[in-house]
């Protein structure tokens, strides 16, 4: 006879666990759309995609296991903020890849794959319309062929793909926004199997959008999504690069379409990640890299030893400034 214990979180409402999640996270509008619940749901009932998290028929289909509550980063939400702990910080540009800035996310993953530190990596690619598509990468060639580089500013179901990868590979890397990194850490604390995620690359993030709302907003500005070459946020301006010029407008105009879950998030630099990457704190064409864990340090040293990237000093002051700014614009008291 084998016996083992299952840990159930405490219920706050007399409902099934998804009902609790609905009352505490989704209805108050603090859901970050990290898709951790959709990934963990044993009956695959929770839906994400380009719309708010939902569980049609949860009254009937939810098995009341509490896994979604256990992994939700916004359940009993305590906002994380600041730059966080890091072992080293630098500004770098990859010599092999081209990306949003210095392509350091791609470089980190490529090196980890080459050295066998990870077997699979989960990335977000895009189609012509800038719709996100999650891809599982198992060799460096794929990184070059898939359209993985560049910021998409749209939600993607990354964590369900991470779960699938974790079930059949022993070492997985993935790239995600701070909320996804926090969700992953919660998954790792509750379910041991997620310790197979060896490298969690966090992105500097202020907000993310629903693709439908972003494309509608941009079409009002006279920009068709398929003409867009690159999107970027720099110094409070949203910059859309097209083949025939640029469209620039203040980020404040986007306020109406910022999802409510992002408006309570204060984590700019993904403090729980293994390595955080973003453009803030570096000059053009370079990425700021904050190495936080030993695995990431090993990868960074390998990149340095192989000479696959140019290194410079990063301005931590600039990152700190934006961290503080995010706390200021996204207040959360409860």
């Amino acid at each position: 006879m084998q016996e083992w214990k299952i840990v159930l979180p405490e219920k706050k409402h007399k409902k099934k666990f998804f009902g609790n999640l609905l009352e505490e996270v989704i209805k108050p509008g603090i859901c970050s759309h990290c898709t951790a619940c959709a990934a963990i749901c044993p009956v695959k009932g929770i839906t994400a995609g380009d719309k708010p998290i939902d569980f049609p028929n949860w009254l009937r289909d939810c098995v009341d296991c509490g896994a979604c509550v256990k992994v939700c980063p916004r359940w009993e939400y305590k906002p994380l903020n600041g730059v966080g702990r890091y072992i080293e910080a630098f500004s770098a540009r990859s010599k092999r890849f081209r990306g949003q800035d210095g392509a350091m996310v791609t470089e980190f993953t490529a090196t980890a794959l080459e050295e066998g530190i990870v077997e699979k990596a989960i990335f977000v690619a895009r189609d012509e319309e800038w719709r996100t598509r999650v891809v599982t990468i198992s060799n460096v060639e794929q990184l070059k062929s898939e359209k993985v580089a560049g910021t998409k500013y749209s939600f993607a179901d990354v964590l369900p793909a991470v779960k699938e990868a974790v079930l059949d590979a022993n070492a997985v890397a993935f790239v995600g926004t701070p909320c996804m990194i926090s969700a992953l850490r919660k998954m790792q604390r509750s379910f041991k199997k997620f310790e197979r995620v060896k490298l969690a690359i966090g992105l500097f993030c202020t907000e993310n959008f629903y693709h439908s709302q972003l494309s509608e907003f941009l079409s009002k500005k006279g920009v068709a999504m398929k003409d867009v070459l690159k999107t970027d946020i720099k110094k409070g301006k949203f910059i859309v690069k097209k083949a025939d010029g640029e469209v620039i407008f203040p980020v404040k105009e986007l306020d109406e379409i910022i999802p409510s879950g992002c408006k309570v998030c204060q984590d700019f630099s993904a403090v729980e990640s293994d390595v955080s990457v973003g453009s803030v704190g570096s000059e053009g064409g370079f990425s700021t890299v904050l190495v936080r864990s030993d695995v990431a340090k090993r990868v960074a040293d390998l990149i340095r030893a192989k000479g696959n990237a140019e290194f410079k000093d990063a301005s931590i002051e600039a990152v700190k400034k934006l961290c503080d700014y995010k706390v200021k614009i996204h207040p959360y008291n409860r």
């Binding site: 016996e3 083992w4 299952i6 044993p42």
Partner: protein, 237 residues
């Protein structure tokens, strides 16, 4: 001229003798290759792919046969448990089902000459697959090939070949479900719901999951359905 005629006559006579000798030889020790089915029957190897039957005492309702069938010919019927029925309009006689059966409940016969009157009759329900199919046998002789360095020949033995051979010993030892990684268990209790023999139970008061090895048949349905893949089948002694 006369001598020439005489030589030819001798040759013809020789040919006649050859023919008569061959006729006598074929009458007493024939070496024909035709198997005179149905009076004779070719001897098939023990693992010949014939019609399939299911021994209910051994079947653990694991669905493996239905899962593996490439022709989608196996339909599971639910009576007290889940039993396989075979649709011979679809079956391609690959015997993947027989090979995949962990307990050896599905067994092959050497019977391949069954006539069905209609297409519907070829769809055997689970109740019809429990015994080997009945065939009317007229044969009394078994024919087998004999191959040696001089060539091959047919050997006829005056005995009936048994069409249902003894079951081979199962290739797998008894296995039971085992949770290899309880720390990754979601606590979703899908295994409890899926288990056909109530071997996995949940204690809602103490929040504990329990596997009773005595009840577990090793069907592996819980293993296939575990969303975190923490369950596995493990051999017992």
């Amino acid at each position: 001229m006369k001598a020439e005629f005489k030589a030819k006559k001798l040759e013809i006579l020789k040919m006649h003798i050859d023919v008569i000798r061959e006729a006598f030889k074929q009458a007493f020790a024939p070496d024909r290759v035709t198997v005179e089915y149905p009076r004779e029957r070719k001897k098939f190897p023990p693992n010949f792919r014939g019609l399939i039957f299911c021994e209910r005492e051994k079947c653990i309702s694991c669905f493996r046969c239905a899962h593996i069938c490439p022709a989608n010919a196996i339909q599971i019927y639910f009576h007290d448990k889940a039993w396989p029925g075979i649709d011979y309009t679809k079956c391609i006689f690959c015997h993947f089902c027989v090979d995949s059966c962990p307990t050896g409940a599905l067994r092959a016969t050497k019977i391949h000459d069954v006539a069905f009157a209609t297409m519907d009759e070829m769809k055997l329900r689970a109740t019809q697959t429990t015994k080997p199919p009945e065939v009317f046998r007229e044969d009394s002789v078994t024919v087998d090939y004999s191959v040696d360095e001089r060539g091959w020949s047919l050997v006829r033995v005056k005995e009936r070949d048994e069409l249902v051979v003894e079951a081979p010993p199962p290739r797998l030892k008894r296995r039971v479900s085992y949770c290899a990684d309880p720390e990754s268990c979601l606590g979703c209790r899908l295994c409890v719901e899926y288990c056909p023999s109530d071997a996995i139970s949940v204690d809602r008061k103490a929040n504990k999951l329990r596997i009773l090895e005595e009840k577990c048949t090793g069907c592996g349905i819980c293993v296939r359905n575990c969303p975190m893949k923490v369950l596995e089948l493990r051999e017992v002694r």
